[in-house]
């Protein structure tokens, strides 16, 4: 009875403590050991398990930072955590693949560090030179973030040469080389992944990229409609209702996720809450 009362008191106090404002710790970005070599020594025979721990920390760091609304949003620990993870377990393929995507993602959705993504993937390729997925991922970084299509095509071709590479890898390399920067080539690349990827997260990510490309197409069509409206009426549209009234549109246009497009200063934009943001550069992805 006394034990139950004490336990209930402890739980009650904990609930009360939770309501108090947290103390300022300033230790959110703390990583005690940053040296992969030192950590490998300290791990004894638990290197794989420690790699898992650092992987979970990397995901939490990325997720928490991405969700945070503070002004001091920093992904500073992401690369060190991924570096530790992959040093402790050099075959932790998810850490290379997801990590590269996280690192390359532009702010505020990520740190916008494609160079770190390339470094991480090159580290993985050094450990597993015949891993076509890592070669393909490196090609993506060059394709998507650097818009360096010849380099991307070279990595796709390298991936296609690996024994376990899927059949669509070689055509992808050829299309990238011939039509790099072309929206259709990009669509073909993401569609191949969406249809063939085993990992659910990557598959959904490929679908999101396809939706981004659809949004770019839709925004181009809307811009053409805005231009036609201006030519016909001699004044720019300020609301979608102007285009609807002139029978250019049947209703407020929606993006591929169902959110209404915004009309800002005569131009089309995605809703600020859209998960499709940031869009790839439409100037280079024709």
């Amino acid at each position: 009875m006394a034990l139950a009362a004490l336990l209930a008191s402890a739980v009650g106090l904990q609930i009360l403590r939770e309501r108090q404002p947290p103390l300022t710790s300033g230790q959110d970005q703390l990583l005690y050991v940053r040296s992969p070599e030192a950590m490998k020594r300290l791990a004894l025979s638990y290197d794989s398990l420690l790699a898992d721990v650092y992987w979970i920390r990397a995901i939490q760091h990325y997720g928490d930072t991405k969700r945070s609304t503070g002004a001091d949003k920093s992904y500073g620990l992401l690369y060190p955590l991924l570096d530790l993870t992959t040093s402790l377990d050099p075959r932790f393929n998810a850490a290379y693949q997801f990590g590269a995507i996280f690192l390359a993602e532009q702010p505020p959705a990520g740190p916008g560090q494609p160079a770190q993504a390339v470094a991480l993937l090159e580290k993985g390729i050094k450990a597993q030179p015949d891993n076509w997925r890592l070669l393909q991922a490196l090609g993506f970084i060059h394709y998507w973030w650097y818009e360096d299509y010849p380099t991307a095509a070279r990595w796709f071709a390298e991936a296609a040469r690996q024994p376990e590479a899927p059949v669509w890898m070689a055509p992808l390399a050829a299309v990238t080389l011939a039509q790099g920067g072309n929206r259709n080539a990009s669509r073909q690349m993401w569609r191949s992944i969406a249809e063939n990827e085993r990992d659910e997260w990557f598959r959904l990510e490929a679908l999101r990229r396809l939706q981004q490309l659809d949004a770019l197409d839709q925004m181009d069509a809307l811009r053409r409609g805005l231009g036609d409206y201006r030519s016909r009426t001699g004044r720019p549209a300020v609301r979608w209702e102007d285009l609807i009234g002139a029978r250019f549109l049947r209703g407020v246009p929606l993006d591929p996720l169902g959110l209404p497009y915004r009309l800002v200063d005569g131009d089309v934009a995605l809703d600020a809450q859209s998960r499709l943001l940031p869009l790839p550069n439409p100037a280079t992805l024709r």
Partner: protein
């Protein structure tokens, strides 16, 4: 029943009485809780992490049992003075030491077998919740190679703890056993010591320690089995043989030390 077997069975019964096997419950709860929580946290890496966690937990639980029960195997009998009544029976000192060792090995084997079975059950359940490619390797029987070498490693740790317990206090025995276990994981560094020091003597000393100290790192193939990398039968056999020779050496040394002790 031979004297060695009687002593061994007695050690096993005592460990059951001391609730040592309760760690199996802790292991099962740890794995089941982790399999649920990790699924929410790890972006599709839950099966790999449960493989890592299971193998690490089997090794750690076993290591704690091997050290903390091993160091008390002989010391406790001497401290309680029950050694007098045991040795007054038709049990030689060698039979007593070997029986104690085999009893703890029996306890460890029950632990390792039950933990491995629970681990495979959790993995089999998880295989039903993941994609086809991951499910195909979730319960790969080749992972038992790592379990087998963990068991040999635990037998070696037990032999070390028993050896120290024949002549020193439990605290010192635990420290020495744990120290050797840690040093045994730095074996590769000892072998390559000449690359970080200029002194030839220091390099030779390190090389000597490399051959002399038990190489515990050799028993660790967890990484290989989790990633489906090959662990040749020749590697398993040579490592197991290395462990067996070292264990025999330690048991002979334990018997020799214990035989010289004066209990009068």
């Amino acid at each position: 029943m031979p004297a060695v077997a009687r002593v061994a069975v007695n050690v096993f019964r005592e460990s059951v009485r001391d609730k040592v096997l309760y760690n199996l419950v802790a292991f099962a709860v740890l794995l089941m809780a982790a399999s649920y929580l990790i699924g929410q946290l790890t972006a599709g890496q839950d099966v790999k992490i449960i493989k890592d966690l299971g193998l690490a937990a089997i090794a750690t639980f076993g290591l704690l049992i091997a050290i903390f029960i091993g160091i008390g195997l002989v010391w406790k009998e001497v401290e309680r003075r029950s050694i007098y009544s045991i040795l007054s029976k038709p049990v030689s000192r060698a039979q007593f030491v070997v029986g104690k060792y085999l009893g703890l090995v029996l306890t460890l084997s029950v632990n390792v077998i039950v933990m491995s079975a629970a681990w495979y059950l959790v993995l089999a359940y998880m295989a039903t919740t993941v994609g086809e490619a991951t499910a195909a390797t979730a319960t790969d029987p080749a992972m038992l190679k790592a379990v087998a070498l963990i068991f040999v490693e635990l037998m070696l740790v037990t032999a070390l703890a028993l050896f120290f317990s024949t002549f020193s206090s439990p605290f010192l025995s635990a420290g020495l056993t744990m120290g050797l276990w840690v040093a045994g994981h730095f074996n590769e560094d000892l072998r390559n010591f000449q690359s970080v020091v200029d002194s030839t003597a220091a390099a030779w000393l390190a090389r000597g320690l490399y051959y002399l100290l038990p190489n515990f790192a050799a028993f660790d193939v967890k990484y290989q089995v989790v990633h489906g990398l090959p662990v040749p039968a020749s590697y398993l056999a040579s490592t197991a043989l290395y462990g067996a020779v070292y264990i025999t050496l330690l048991l002979v040394a334990s018997v020799a030390v214990f035989s010289r002790r004066d209990f009068k």
